[in-house]
Amino acid sequence: MRRRAILGYGVAGVGAVALMLFVGWWQVDGAGGPEPVGQRPVALTEMDFRLTDHEGNAVGPETLIGRPTMAFFGFTYCPDVCPTTLSDISGWLDDLGDEADEMNVVFITVDPERDTVETMAEYVGYFHPGIRGWTGPEEQIARVADGFRATYVRVPMESGDYTMNHTASVFLFAASGRFVTMIDYHEPREFAVPKIRRALAEEMEGAT
């Protein structure tokens, strides 16, 4: 009896695995599969999320369509990587001069519990005025991160506080919403501005 039950589970298990394999094949290689994208973010036009910017305006992926976009994930309780990246971005925007006005630049929090609209407003105020701070409900932040193929995780600290591990790359999208490239955290700074110019140039190509 007991043996039979185990055998039954075994058969069901094999069936389930076969079904998963088939579904996996169908989605990845078969007729049901999307274009292979790997870990690249999807186009902004394929994303769906609702957030609030640091001035209280409702924003979403459509807010970013029509101009090239530079986006970065972080949180305001971050002592090192986030202020460093935001000050790097501020420097790139200074280098771009008037061209920077043609771009969207968004800093999206992965810590909405502490990063309210007011907190984001105060924080982004210390950096280049072109940088917008976006926050929103946890489930909407999760949707943004999913679209960007970005990850974040809450890490408790001994003191009872917590910190966040998160994707530290800066994402660049063309005006059409298509993902162009990323600027990795440890990439030499001189590579960044040419990459941003490439995203800006794609806008021009799209316009002609």
Partner: protein, 155 residues
């Protein structure tokens, strides 16, 4: 501005009345430069302190701890970015200073994290941080607080 810790040598001189040449502990051969931190918004966020250490002596010295009156805890942390571009911070533990070498604490790498701030770090102010070495040496350093958007000790 270079600061060399001479207090130990000075104390030894006073003790021995200058009659004998004091034997300098290894940590007295450490120079510190470019000490800075970013200002904080309030006290609930942690702060990070950066500097460059140079071991001018002939022996390796270990940095084993940090103390400051402005925060409950001060720890060396190292930022890591994995192959997927995800940033994590981990305690750096004891840090070895090899003779003749520089060790740079800078954004995106090593930093001293100040947790449980007693008061905010205000741009233009200075705070004191003591570096503790394995030979018993204690080096007080003056940390200049720069703006939140500062990129380094000078820019």
């Amino acid at each position: 501005m270079k600061e060399k810790i001479l207090t130990g040598a000075l104390a030894a001189l006073l003790t021995f009345g200058g009659l004998s040449t004091p034997v300098a502990a290894d940590s007295q051969e450490i120079l510190v430069d470019d000490v800075w931190a970013r200002a904080t918004i309030g006290v609930s966020r942690p702060a990070a302190v950066y500097f460059t250490l140079r071991n001018t002596g002939g022996d390796a010295v270990k940095l084993i701890g940090f103390e400051t009156t402005i925060a409950k805890r001060a720890e060396a942390h190292r930022l890591k970015i994995d192959a997927n571009g995800i940033s994590t911070m981990e305690p750096a533990g004891e840090i070895l200073l090899r003779p003749g070498n520089d060790l740079v604490f800078e954004p995106g790498g090593l930093h001293i994290m100040l947790m449980g701030l007693q008061e905010p770090l205000v741009e233009g102010d200075s705070i004191q941080l003591d570096l503790l070495f394995d030979d018993g040496g204690r080096m007080p350093v003056n940390v200049r607080v720069r703006g939140i958007a500062a990129r380094g000790p000078r820019n």
